[in-house]
Assembly symmetry: C2
Homo-oligomer: 302 residues x 2
Amino acid sequence: MSDGALFNAVADFIADLQDRICAAVEDVERGVTFGEQIWKRPGGGGGRSRVIQGGSVFEKAGVNTSVVHGTVPTQLAGELPGGGDTFRAAGISLVIHPVSPMVPTVHANFRRIERGGHGWFGGGADLTPNYLYEEDAVHFHRVWRDVCARHPVADYAAWKQWCDDYFYIPHRGEHRGIGGIFFDHVSDAPEEMWAFVQDAGTAFIDAYLPIVRRRADEPWGERERTHQLVRRGRYVEFNLLYDRGTKFGLSSAGNPESILMSLPDTARWIWGYKVEPGSWEERSLDVLRKPRQWVASDGELA
Amino acid sequence: MSDGALFNAVADFIADLQDRICAAVEDVERGVTFGEQIWKRPGGGGGRSRVIQGGSVFEKAGVNTSVVHGTVPTQLAGELPGGGDTFRAAGISLVIHPVSPMVPTVHANFRRIERGGHGWFGGGADLTPNYLYEEDAVHFHRVWRDVCARHPVADYAAWKQWCDDYFYIPHRGEHRGIGGIFFDHVSDAPEEMWAFVQDAGTAFIDAYLPIVRRRADEPWGERERTHQLVRRGRYVEFNLLYDRGTKFGLSSAGNPESILMSLPDTARWIWGYKVEPGSWEERSLDVLRKPRQWVASDGELA
């Protein structure tokens, strides 16, 4: 496949994947449906943002696609691999913040970027529970482990580690969540990577929505809500202080609202907030401080 | 005065100023009093954090002092002027987020930093209203203009502009508030600057608390609260994405809680939030997009 054909195929795929993910989310939500905003980027291209807000299951969920092209923004000239003054990028990015503190937040992103004659894939998915259900963490990781196992070009063990390393909040000594996979700048074997990205993008639905279904009716109260809002504060800290995608988006694109859609509806910073020793909250924090191996990296051992 | 005597005098002054500001804030608050946390910095020095949370007038108010010294952190080696591997810093930093959306948030900071034989003063104060009362903006600026007028070493016009330039959120095309004064790396005329800093630190009380007293009983409801929480989201965006002090603190100090005390108790990000054309909210946003000259720079013209 030529670079141009591959890029167009990615653009078509993410539009279709956005439809499928939104339909699957609405099927769980039932209360409200996605609103849509189409936006144009002044420098070339644009995007389609879809957002649920104030749902019965999802407090705020954004599933965005964008296909942009143009001159490499000055701030990014040194950061984007490849040479040349022009670039194009096609990607899907989603963040889902549920109403219930017992249902984890999730993020996923798959993208192809090309600069001059050099192109690469990047992406991944990671889960951020406020209250740890170990079987959910295992389920989430098992889906990604199994997708990787189907594609020799993918490396679950390395990409799980990359995810833990990337989603880290140094000033807190905490990871953002319990991880998943993360990969970037993968330029080798584009045909094989393209097959992997399609498989992984589709797998998101099975990785996340079964967890929502099984936790949506767990009981919770004010204590759990407060803990959730404080944890959402940490999510905001990571995204604004450390996330390269957010910085990339704010310096390259025309739509800050769409990039900052990753932020939760509400976040809190409570001075002196502490979890009780031995509590569920503390056990949930422990795995953010010391990431675990949730599944064997080799599928046959699981 | 020797460098050492000056530094010690600054350290004594900020401890006393913290007491005076906290007493003045408690006098308006009446509901709750400041809690205190003393912390040590592993690399040398420490601080005294004082926080009000959940008050009747102040939702979250932090008035912190720190006096730290030690080896220049690697991340800051290129950013701190002067040479040498050691530094010391003494400063007071405060952020006050009131309960009422009609009462503005305020920030102020005064500090002396020395690296090797080179020392400088920095600081300033700026106001962030959700609902603009022009006379409050004029009052705030007039206090700073008048303090500057008493000290030939100070330059209100330049420092007002510096404040507007510094507290800017480029991806929103908005300034964080209606400004005030900001100055940094002022190494000339240390004795004169020291006299100015003492005058300015003390002036904070007159610059802010009269505004709180006159707006604390203004009526407000859900609409104003929502607008306030969205504006607090912008405050968080500035502090985490762009504020050098926050980055400096997170890379140099031992106490992230104390640095992030500047964040509001609660912030919201509402997809598609818009103010009504011609509304008070819109008029208040206008002055964040186009900073105004609130008082004549020359005191005699006011």
